[in-house]
């Protein structure tokens, strides 16, 4: 296999990281909805944490995307 096609395949594989980010973000907001539905009064307390969790979960997927860019454009 030549380097160019290996790079393409590698970049595609790196994007699998987005699966985890999707699961994570879904999980964060599912928990937020569940907890607010149980106790609507707790919303102001839990919402900042939900957004913090969203940002952290999203970042892990973007690490994979950064690796994909690195493979495609740096090496």
């Amino acid at each position: 296999m030549d380097l160019a096609s290996a790079k393409m395949i590698g970049a595609g594989l790196a994007c699998i990281a987005l699966v985890g980010a999707g699961v994570g973000i879904g999980n964060v907001f599912a928990s937020l909805i569940a907890s607010v539905a149980r106790n609507p009064a707790a919303q102001p307390q839990v919402q900042p944490f939900a957004f913090l969790g969203f940002a952290l979960a999203e970042a892990t997927g973007l690490f994979g995307l950064a690796i994909a860019f690195l493979i495609l454009f740096v090496f």
Binding site: F51, L52, F54, A55, L56, E58, A59, L62, F63, L65, A66, F69, F73
Partner: protein
């Protein structure tokens, strides 16, 4: 008809005023220009808005007060007792990242925070600063941070390296999170823009996605500034209170 899509072209750094001092390239670039604009915007917001401070604030003054109170509240609840002296630092970090992110969303502008060197410099500043604060406050006692209490000695062999690793990886995760978010968001906007430019009448679909994406990017711009600031607060709490 194939229009070449260059989604990464928007991140090129151009020299506006070339300047070389002793072999060092210290040119005034578009990155430096947008950092200057960001600092000017923040200064204008905080100085002009509070110059004629009224008891009942106007729009600009409320904006300045809102951001001040938001960060003050964040430092108060997350960094714990004794973190008040570091409030100006965290406020500066938050405002700089927020304003740079938002400025980057203006079409044809440049996003300062989409370059890892900028975010890594900010993260390293936080990391080194927090470590110095911890060492100054606790002395050698600071290294207790890496030794979880109430753990059998055998497990410590495993846990101490993990704690050390998770401590030293902080500047990298902190900087890559911000940079990757900005890079990915802006690349995505450019890719959908490129689609719209190359398919003629059907452009309405990628364009409408792009409009939604700009909304998401506005959220991400504010959220990433918030996350950077709140993680700085949490690291500071670790250094001040050692778990």
């Amino acid at each position: 008809m194939a229009i070449e899509i260059k989604p990464l072209e928007q991140f090129t750094i151009e020299r506006i005023v070339p300047l070389h001092i002793g072999g060092l390239d210290v040119s005034f670039t578009n990155s430096a220009l947008f950092m200057t604009i960001a600092v000017l915007v923040i200064t204008l917001l905080t100085v002009v808005a509070t110059r004629r401070a009224a008891l009942v604030p106007g729009r600009l003054q409320s904006l300045a007060e809102l951001s001040y109170e938001f960060v003050a509240d964040m430092v108060d609840t997350n960094a714990g007792h004794g973190a008040e002296p570091f409030f100006p630092f965290i406020f500066t970090l938050f405002m700089f990242i927020l304003v740079s992110n938002l400025l980057g969303l203006i079409p044809y502008s440049f996003t300062v925070t989409s370059h890892i060197i900028v975010t890594f410099a900010l993260a390293l500043l936080v990391f080194v600063g927090v470590t110095i604060v911890g060492l100054a406050k606790h002395g050698t006692h600071f290294f207790r941070l890496f030794v979880p209490s109430g753990v059998p000695a055998v497990l410590l062999l495993l846990l101490v390296p993990i704690e050390l690793l998770s401590y030293f990886i902080r500047p990298f995760t902190l900087s890559i999170r911000l940079f990757a978010n900005m890079l990915a968001g802006h690349t995505m906007l450019a890719i959908f823009g490129g689609f719209a430019a190359s398919i003629g009448f059907l452009a309405i679909f990628p364009l409408s996605i792009n409009i939604l994406l700009v909304g998401l990017e506005l959220l991400v711009a504010a959220l990433q500034a918030y996350v950077f600031a709140i993680l700085t607060c949490l690291y500071l709490r670790d250094a001040l209170h050692l778990h």
